[in-house]
Amino acid sequence: MLQEQFSTGNSQIHRLDPRFKVVVATVYAFVVALSNRFPALIAALIFSFALVGLCRLDFLEVAKRIALVNGFIIFLWLVVPLTFAGQPLFYLGPFGVSSEGVLVSARITLKSNAILLAFIALIASSTVATLGSALSRLRIPEKIIYLLLLNYRYIFVMEEEYRRLLRSASIRGFRPTSNLHTYKTYAYLIGMLFVRASDRAERVYKAMLCRGFAGRFYSLHEFSFSRLDLIWLVVMTIAIIGLEILEWVKIA
């Protein structure tokens, strides 16, 4: 279950204006994603680590999230060096491991970890509800925001319904194997889930109509840009400029 466990805390980063955090995290993510040189990428990773450190989050939980992403990256390391065109670094049996492939994989690893850590620090330190309001203040289209918020609200309800269906199948002796009966059963389960989701959506919409919903959402949150935000604006600007210098200026 989504616990939003990083959103509780009282560090400086937690207290920043969420609108500012959303903007700065986005800019930072672009800068890191578009960098290519190792000094810049390594510096970004260190800086992101520092941000997470300043959030004073549970280290084990952060490690779990990172491990999840790096699980995918392992596959990248298994495939890209063997298939990327370029100078072979060494041979693994009949396969040549290209040095370009290794460099590309290393870049992707550094970039994704740096961006993920920065998002944990800057974005996961607010609740989904707060982020929704922040996005609406940033003039992101309301439909997108409510897609996010309603997803967050109903994903558990749908999960619960899925479990209920699965339970009812298993108490009637359903054991998944790899045969047509299993595939058919899963197809029915998923089909039923869609039917229920659309019924649910209709009921939620009706309930909203009954409370005077007329197509527009209003937000309760009022944000203020404080002195702390100003300080952090300076910190983040310097960090981003620093990364750009490392990326573009050749150090002898």
């Binding site: 309603l150 609200r153 309800v157 909203m208 005077g212 309760l220």
Partner: protein, 254 residues
Amino acid sequence: MGENSVIIQLENIVFSYAGSKPVLDDLCFTLEEGTKLGLIGQNGSGKTTMLHIIMGLLKPSSGTIRAFGKPIETKKDFLEVRRKIGFLFQDADDQLFCPTVLEDIAFGPLNLGKSPTEARKMVMETLERLNLKGFEERVTHKLSGGEKKLVALATVLVMEPKALLLDEPTTGLDEDTNIRIITLLNQLDISYVIVSHEYDFLAQTTREIYGIHDGRISYHGDSNTLHSHYHKHAAARTPHHHRALHADVEGACC
């Protein structure tokens, strides 16, 4: 009673879902100001359908709806009805769609044009009124079933409705929440209609009990005479009457 004191009036309502025989067949129903009314009927008898028609969520194929003395026909008329009549859905998960309790309860007042500050104040007052102080920052999907129901009731009451429609308010709730809801309802000074299949619950929260059968509504009686004592046994949850008082009413048992 004069025209003004009638809150809702349904006349000769016919409604059927696509491809089946009418659920409501020439149904007539009146809710007057100051009445607390129970409506009992079996599954599929059209109880919920009737409430949805009052709120304009379903459109009858014929018949007229009047609210507060005026005929209700257009979409705009129904917007007005929804401002004045609160509707508690059977499944609280349908009603609570915002991430936090505060935002969910504030949704109605904000739609009515209140400022964020006013809305926040109304939420706090409603929470206090329902003994839910401290719930404002709770995440709606993490509440227990009973808490969800009470918060759902808060989302409706915060809009200061002139009348309430409650669809099976006690389904799947524990005894404690049940008692809390009964106490709350008895303290309310607005009219309401409760749809339920639990006779005991209706007897404790309403004065007049009607039955819905074959698409029509019939008067069952005053809840005091129908039911003067409280049952613990399961049979009380099915419609029944006490022979000595109402031998002539259908479904007599015990």
